[in-house]
């Protein structure tokens, strides 16, 4: 339905200003109105919902449908030379280098990739939020220390350090830090978190620096509110939008980070499927086993693209100044 005009022209051509009722909209309604116009973002959101469902039930469901447990090897799915065979009616995505069902492993890979991406991003956002809020709000010496620490992390060659940490934690029985970091998925999440929070911290710090000078903050302070109260009730609510946006953009980055670690053989254990580790295997065989590259690769592209589109859409919807 079209919105009513705010003024009316009389038959004589004179403009007669009439009061017109304007529908009041809540911020969330305004957000949703803007967001739903972005078809790409909607599509991204739908794809993500599907992928999350795949991550939760896809692996077991695929096992149940095919009757192929994810770590069972099938000798009939490698030829006499040990080269895996391609898709057929029983193995829809073909087999991997060890003769396991690639369809089942790709479904389980969704769980690993999304879990690592979302959990690591969650930790990174939490740390980044605390650091950024503290640095931006208190400023001065605290800001200098936290901001420089964040800058140092941004300057570190992440993959190199990550390779070192993961390798070090994988060479003994008890992992690292007295057993706190166990080789495998926990190390991967820890490494990704360590190298991700600084981006969020910088963004949060920037927003906080701006927000703390706003009138409503001054007003709250004049009313006697303490720092914690101002942070909790005045600044933090205004950061929710940007945090959601940057979280959705961080998740695909971290999914790719996990894939890169797994590609280098430093990610999740071999019995735990991940798209990165499947792609790593594919690098040895892509010229004779195209399916190893295609399926996990397509899922990886689809996932990162969906998250990026959703993130872009959310940013546009939250930011009224943005142009479409």
């Amino acid at each position: 339905m079209a919105s009513p005009p705010e003024f009316q022209v009389t038959s004589g051509g004179a403009i007669a200003l009439q009061p017109v009722a304007v529908a009041r909209k809540s911020p969330s309604r305004l957000f949703w109105d803007r967001f739903k116009q972005d078809k790409a973002a909607l599509a991204g959101g739908i794809v993500i919902i599907i992928l999350v469902l795949v991550a939760i039930v896809g692996g077991p469901l695929a096992e149940s449908i095919t009757g192929h447990p994810q770590n069972t090897t099938y000798t009939q799915m490698t030829d006499a030379f040990g080269v895996p065979k391609g898709p057929n009616s029983q193995f829809w995505f073909g087999a991997d280098a060890a003769g396991r069902d690639l369809f089942v492993r790709t479904m389980y890979g969704a769980r690993t990739s999304l879990f690592v991406g979302i959990v690591a991003s969650g930790f990174a956002v939490l740390i980044g939020l605390i650091v950024g809020l503290t640095a931006g709000f208190f400023g001065g010496f605290v800001d200098t220390i936290l901001s420089r620490a964040s800058d140092v992390l941004l300057a570190v060659p992440q993959i190199l350090i990550a390779v070192g940490v993961v390798a070090a934690c994988s060479t003994n029985k008890n992992g690292c830090l007295g057993g706190l970091l166990q080789p495998g998925i926990t190390v991967v999440i820890a490494v990704i978190t360590v190298f991700s929070w600084s981006y969020i911290a910088r963004i949060v710090r920037g927003y906080t620096l701006s927000l703390r000078e706003k009138e409503f903050v001054e007003s709250a302070r004049a009313a006697g509110a303490g720092n914690i109260r101002i942070l909790a009730t005045e600044i933090l609510p205004n950061l929710v939008g940007p945090l959601i946006v940057y979280s959705t953009l961080l998740i695909p980055t971290n999914i790719l980070f996990e894939a890169a670690l797994s590609y280098l053989g430093l990610g999740v254990p071999a019995d735990q499927a991940s798209w990165g580790s499947i792609l790593s295997d594919a690098s040895q065989l892509y010229d004779v086993a195209w399916w190893l590259m295609l399926f996990p690769g397509a899922f990886l592209i689809l996932t990162t693209l969906a998250f990026n589109l959703l993130g872009d859409g959310l940013r546009d919807a939250f930011d009224v100044r943005s142009e479409r």
């Binding site: 090897t73 009939q76 030379f81 040990g82 057929n88 060890a98 053989g265 019995d271 004779v288 689809l302």
Partner: protein
């Protein structure tokens, strides 16, 4: 990228997934039509390839995968890498005794090389006297005749721990060796050089294989005037190795013979480098050497990190040969193409691939668990993971039969139908184990859950690990697999108490089973780092304390007396003794699951006119290869 474009890509990706899913049905019929052979026997040929007549000249180019991987920077005193021995023995160094550089049993026949003949020991096997042939000269910049004192110098260098010897343990039976090793003497008293053409070794005890021990490259002559420049600097001599054979490092002829002005030769750019170039030694006299043909004018060994690229270049004639391991896809490509097939040459590798179980770590401190592991492993699938029968034969015991003159060829105490493993027999063993108190046929105790296992990160490991995990899970053992690039460092450290590893492989040092048993099962071989007795057979509490091993040390079985007894025997008695020890290890001690006797598969290029395998070095007989000029 605009949002519209990304939207389109999103749709395209989704479509691609759907389309691929549909496409899978189309390709089903052709793929399912292929049947697995299931063959377990090995495929080896004559070890020889001919494609025209051999003649002098040309450059022989070899692609070397990943890195040289030398253990002592190509310094022969400590270099223990088999591929390096191929260069030394065929091209650069002449030890007192050597080999014919042929495939098969003939390739393990000892011949006099620097010595005129293989000596017969005297004094009840305690004295060996070698007579050096005349006419053998060092290459530049030394340019003089090789004498017995140069051999004695090399031996003294080997005895001195400061010079980096890595297999000195083979020579501790020479009188006075230990005194040098302990720093109490500067020369081995049991080595004498009555004249320039004679060298005598006095032993403290007889060893039936002493002549073979004198075939290894560390015993080849080193001129003291150059060697002294590198004393106490293990590995540094590697870039200035002085040739006594037909080829030398490029740049040797421009080097100085004085320590002050001696620079590394250009022919080798160091352990992290990417090339070795060998050119003819102008002082080499072909008439002194019956077995090296020395056809090419030059050898170029070039490191390439991409194995696919190496094999593509070999096929295209841009390389003649490779030091690499062809992947299953490469083996398939050559095995199924009649034009390529002759250029792929599989050879018996004198090597065993095995899974090692640490006798001190639960659940492998129970022999029934170790036996169950031998029953449950699907060796046929392991063989496939390596590429099928061409890369190797399924192993049934410790030492490859070729080293027993084909003794124990049919022996396999854990033989299963189609080599696919036998769950019933594995469960029967598990029921006898203390880790299955309920006699369920599965290991039910916590010791069997999350058992730390070390794997490597080679492509073959990624294929083997899932098979192994699935196999052990059938008997209730779940492995906590850690994949480490270069797993040996970890498993060679007893203090890490690694229960299980899928990585180990062992090849002979020379054609005698002693080179397996002494290194892999003797308690004397258990050391703090670089340990090769991974299973810790023969571990005692004092040794455990020294190396930092912990666990169930009491009751670890020992085969030290068996090794000592067998090593003193000669001829067939010796072989029979080793065979019995092999059986004892497989049925009583059970430290391993041997699964493959690998072949060394080589692929040669179209420009090669002759190639044959060298059984001693288990690599190409560079001394006999030839190339179109």
């Amino acid at each position: 990228m605009s949002k519209q474009i990304r939207y389109a890509v999103l749709l395209a990706a989704a479509f691609a997934l759907i389309a691929a899913g549909c496409g899978s049905k189309k390709s089903a019929s052709s793929n399912t039509a292929t049947k697995s052979s299931g063959a377990s026997n090995s495929v080896v040929g004559t070890g020889t390839y001919d494609n025209g007549s051999s003649k002098k000249g040309g450059i022989y180019r070899i692609g070397w995968e990943q890195s040289f991987g030398f253990t002592n920077n190509f310094d022969p005193t400590g270099e223990y890498l088999g591929n390096a021995w191929g260069l030394y023995s065929n091209l650069m160094l002449r030890s007192l005794v050597g080999y014919k550089h042929l495939p098969g049993a003939a390739g393990n026949d000892l011949i006099g090389d620097l010595a005129t003949a293989v000596p017969t020991p005297t004094d009840n096997g305690l004295t060996y006297t070698y007579k050096l042939r005349t006419g053998v000269k060092f290459g530049p910049p030394v340019n003089r005749a090789v004498t017995s004192k140069d051999v004695a110098y090399a031996m003294n260098r080997l005895a001195n721990p400061k010079d980096g010897g890595q297999y000195s343990f083979y020579y501790t039976l020479i009188t006075g060796w230990d005194a040098v090793a302990a720093g109490k003497a500067t020369s081995v008293s049991g080595i004498s050089t009555p004249d320039n053409q004679t060298i005598v070794f006095h032993l403290t005890k007889a060893a039936g294989d002493f002549n073979r021990r004198m075939s290894m490259p560390a015993t080849a002559p080193i001129p003291p005037e150059i060697g002294k420049c590198f004393e106490g600097k293990p590995g540094d001599y590697g870039r200035d190795v002085i040739s006594s054979g037909p080829y030398m490092l490029k740049g040797s002829n421009t080097a100085s013979a004085s320590c002050a002005s001696l620079k590394p030769m250009s022919g080798y750019d160091g352990a992290n480098g990417n090339h070795i170039v060998l050119v003819r030694n102008p002082n080499y006299d072909q008439s002194t050497d019956q077995y090296r043909k020395s056809y090419p004018d030059q050898f170029q060994f070039v490191v390439n990190s991409n194995a696919d690229d190496i094999f593509a270049k070999v096929q295209a004639g841009q390389l003649e040969d490779e030091v690499s391991s062809p992947a299953p896809k490469t083996i398939r490509a050559y095995a199924t193409d009649p034009n390529l097939k002759p250029k792929m040459i599989p050879n018996v590798g004198d090597r065993t691939n095995y899974f090692t179980m640490n006798l001190t770590q639960p659940p492998f401190d129970d022999v029934h668990i170790r036996k169950a592991m031998n029953w449950i492993v699907d060796k046929a699938s392991m063989q496939k993971a390596w590429g099928g029968p061409i890369p190797g034969a399924i192993a049934g015991h410790v030492v490859p039969p070729v080293l027993y003159n084909n003794g124990l060829a049919e022996y396999d105490p854990y033989s299963t139908p189609n080599n696919a493993g036998d769950l019933a027999k594995a469960q029967a063993e598990i029921k006898l184990s203390k880790y299955d108190p309920g006699k369920t046929g599965k290991c039910t105790m916590s010791a069997c859950k999350g058992v730390l296992a070390i794997a490597d990160t080679r492509s073959v490991d990624t294929r083997m690990v899932p098979i192994l995990e699935a196999d052990t899970a059938k008997i209730g053992i779940t492995l906590k697999m850690r994949s480490i690039n270069g797993a040996y460092t970890t498993i060679q450290t007893p203090a890490k108490n690694i229960p299980f590893s899928e990585r180990p492989s062992w090849g002979k040092d020379y054609a005698d089973p002693f080179t397996f048993f002494a290194e892999l099962f003797d308690s004397g071989a258990i050391i703090k780092s670089g340990n090769t007795n991974y299973s810790l057979v023969g571990l005692t509490p004092p040794i455990a304390k020294t190396v930092g091993a912990t666990g169930a040390i009491a009751g670890v079985p020992s085969v030290d007396p068996d090794i000592k007894a067998c090593s003193a025997k000669l001829g067939q008695d010796r072989l029979t003794c080793w065979e019995n020890l092999d059986k004892k290890l497989m049925t009583t001690v059970v430290p391993w699951v041997p699964y493959l006797w690998p072949n060394n598969v080589f692929i040669v290029g179209p420009t090669v006119t002759h190639w044959n395998y060298d059984q001693f070095t288990d690599g190409p007989a560079y001394s006999s290869v030839s190339v179109k000029g």
